[in-house]
């Protein structure tokens, strides 16, 4: 990158201070210090005096778009986004959960972000394979060009080689490990339903105990609720305490949607979410 993480942090602070002091926004969503260097945390600056708490380093994995829906409608907010995170903002705008004019998007072109748990670089595997935000008001660093761009679906090769029975066996084995802490849904920027279907008991859609029937019901439904909406940030998989590779299913569904409808989630605020939009030329493949 042309700029360092340190420079990104400085620029974030400068912009946050300016936005808060001018009264343009009432809060800035960024990252702040955690209990150690490897664990920066989502951070909210509500005044210029909070700005010094902002940090940016290689472990800033969190998708802060997740916090946008927590504040009352009409709150003027600035949000720091990496490439995948910006798609979540776009998707939330498409779904009318936030208004474009209430947001100041601080776009961060970046690569080399690492999962603090594994040390693995997340760019290609569990993010959308982009390096530059798709929507922003202020660019925090120069756009990244010349980095190898792999298809976000490349990691699906092994999964797609499995037949239907093998896939079911794979998911049963993986999902049986689920402890139903709901970290995946809570980390997900697109999971904003209140209440979530799985928390309802009249009617009851799934069992609460972490056993096969309830686990399959919860995850398979959630996978499909995110069809055409998942922006591939990988937060669900990173949040999972037992490392279930949830991103594989989301990517597979995203790929199918993109092939059928010619549109990936969260790329443009002019788009409509594929499953709530009807066009005569839409694929009928889903009915086959």
């Amino acid at each position: 990158m042309a700029v360092s993480f340190q420079q990104i942090e400085e620029k974030l602070k400068t912009e946050a201070r300016r936005l808060l002091e001018s009264g343009q926004v009432s809060l800035v969503l960024a990252w702040g210090r955690g209990f150690d260097e490897k664990h920066p945390m989502p951070y909210v600056a509500k005044g210029a005096s909070d700005v010094d708490g902002i940090v940016f380093n290689e472990f800033c994995t969190h998708n802060l778009a997740r916090y946008l829906v927590r504040y009352p409608r009409g709150t003027k907010m600035a949000v720091a986004v990496k490439a995948a995170d910006s798609r979540a903002v776009v998707q939330l705008i498409q779904e009318d959960k936030v208004k474009r004019h209430d947001l100041v998007i601080l776009g961060i072109p970046v690569y080399g972000i690492k999962n603090p748990k594994t040390g693995e670089i997340i760019d290609g595997k569990t993010t959308c394979g982009l390096y530059n935000p798709v929507l922003y008001d202020i660019l925090i660093a120069e756009e990244v060009h010349g980095q190898p761009v792999s298809s976000p679906y490349a990691v699906l090769a092994e999964y797609e080689a499995m037949d239907q029975d093998a896939r079911f066996a794979f998911w049963k084995k993986e999902l049986d490990r689920c402890i139903r802490c709901y970290a995946c849904r809570k980390a997900c920027p697109m999971c904003y339903c209140d209440p979530c279907f799985i928390d309802q008991n009249k009617p009851k859609w799934g069992e609460k105990s972490p056993e096969t029937p309830g686990n399959l019901m919860y995850h398979l439904t959630r996978f499909h609720h995110l069809a055409g909406r998942c922006i591939d940030c990988g937060e669900c998989s990173r949040a999972c305490p037992v490392d279930i590779p949830l991103y594989l299913f989301h990517k597979k569904v995203a790929k199918e949607c993109e092939e059928m409808f010619g549109q990936a989630a969260g790329m443009s605020i002019e788009d409509k979410p594929v499953l709530v939009n009807f066009r005569m030329e839409d694929s009928d493949k889903i009915l086959e």
Binding site: G34, F35, D36, H39, P40, M41, P42, Y43, V44, H62, R66, Y67, R70, P116, R177, I179, R180, C181, Y182, A183, R185, K186, A187, D194, P195, D199, E207, K208, S209, P210, E211, P213, G214, E235, R238, A239, P241, V242, D243
Partner: protein, 345 residues
């Protein structure tokens, strides 16, 4: 009684233990270690730091059946599930987790109402504790020393194990432990030097530094009570919190559960399932009212319960500093940092 065995002969020991009862021990899994019922003595792996889920699940499983029934059948045909009292050996438990059982006993057996399921398993269990490596530094998440727990405290275990090079030294701590240890063949006698090493390790464990300085439980209790209405403080503390249940499910001292009726294909069970105060519906009342709709209210409850109300009511902090909540939090919230912030507020 002091015995020892070579680490490479661990499976002989675990195999012998399997002959004495159901053996539950740390096992390496895809995402890390967990305590599991052992079916093959070779599964047991002591090269772990700590497990993902605490061993509370051995006495208080995430799902526990109370009544089994069939829909459409008379009530009298429903069967009660009796508490299990078969001999159980819990192997390789860290001192902070051993301490957590004493705290859980307060709720499940020591305050009048006795939970027969918890108690039956507890009484049938022999605990074999295992010291942290006092020669290696503590992991950054841990703070058991802050809460007065040593890295090699044998108290609470029936047998306690310390690793010395390629050997494992086992010392019986209680009569129950001595009876079990005496019944295991093939263990070597330990020398006086091994005994000294054991005692030195226990002493070193007491001085073993985790990342915080010691605390005054009474001062924290008072401070958190004073801060209860300081919404600004709690909102700031919970800005990042996603309100998921990882911290509570991984926690060795969280004991909240829900009672559910779950029916599938006509067969039903009334069971308890772990619940978490961080879930929105945890406090949802039948009227539709929810006294804790905000994330900050739920986080305040969690921290207040562990560090304040619990101390006020039972005289002990309901936390053993194992660090699991911090280790697994998707957004890196560190419970003790919040307590420290509170003390400064």
């Amino acid at each position: 009684m002091l015995k020892k065995t070579a680490i490479h002969q661990l499976s002989d020991l675990t195999s012998a233990l399997m002959g004495k009862g159901t053996l539950v021990a740390p096992v390496r899994e895809d995402a890390g270690f967990n305590f599991r019922e052992i079916s093959d003595a070779k599964q047991v792996d002591l090269n772990f730091h700590n497990t993902i889920i605490s061993p509370k699940s051995v006495f208080f499983p995430q799902t526990e059946d109370f009544i089994r029934y069939r829909t459409g059948r008379p009530l009298q045909e429903a069967e009660t599930v009796e508490p299990e009292g078969k001999p159980l050996i819990l192997f390789g438990v860290r001192p902070c987790d051993v301490k957590s059982f004493e705290i859980m006993d307060i709720h499940f057996s020591c305050t009048g109402a006795v939970d027969p399921y918890w108690q039956a398993r507890r009484e049938a269990a022999t605990l074999i504790g295992y010291a942290f490596d006092v020669a290696a530094p503590a992991e950054p998440e841990e703070f058991y020393q802050t809460l007065g727990i040593g890295a090699a405290d044998p108290e609470g275990s029936d047998i306690f194990m310390v690793r010395r090079g390629d050997d494992l030294i086992l010392k019986s701590i209680t009569g129950k432990g001595e009876a079990l240890l005496a019944g295991i063949e093939g263990l070597a006698g330990a020398s006086a030097d091994d005994g000294k090493f054991f005692d030195d390790t226990v002493a070193a464990g007491r001085n073993f530094k985790t990342r915080f300085t010691c605390v005054d439980a009474k001062a924290i209790t008072k401070k958190l009570e004073d801060l209860f209405h300081n919404t600004d403080f709690w909102e700031k503390a919970s800005n990042a919190c996603l309100s998921c249940g990882v911290c509570t499910f991984a926690c060795p001292t969280c004991y909240c559960f829900d009672i559910c009726d779950e029916t599938l294909f006509g067969r039903g069970t009334r069971r308890r399932v772990w619940d978490a105060c961080m879930f929105t519906d945890f406090t949802l009342e039948a009227s539709g009212h929810n006294p804790r709709t905000k994330v900050y209210q739920r986080l305040r409850q969690k921290i207040g319960h562990k560090y304040s109300y619990h101390v006020r009511k039972y005289g002990v902090i309901s936390c053993v500093g194992c660090g699991r909540c911090t280790r697994h939090c998707p957004v890196g919230i560190d419970i003790f940092s919040i307590v420290e912030e509170a003390m400064k507020a």
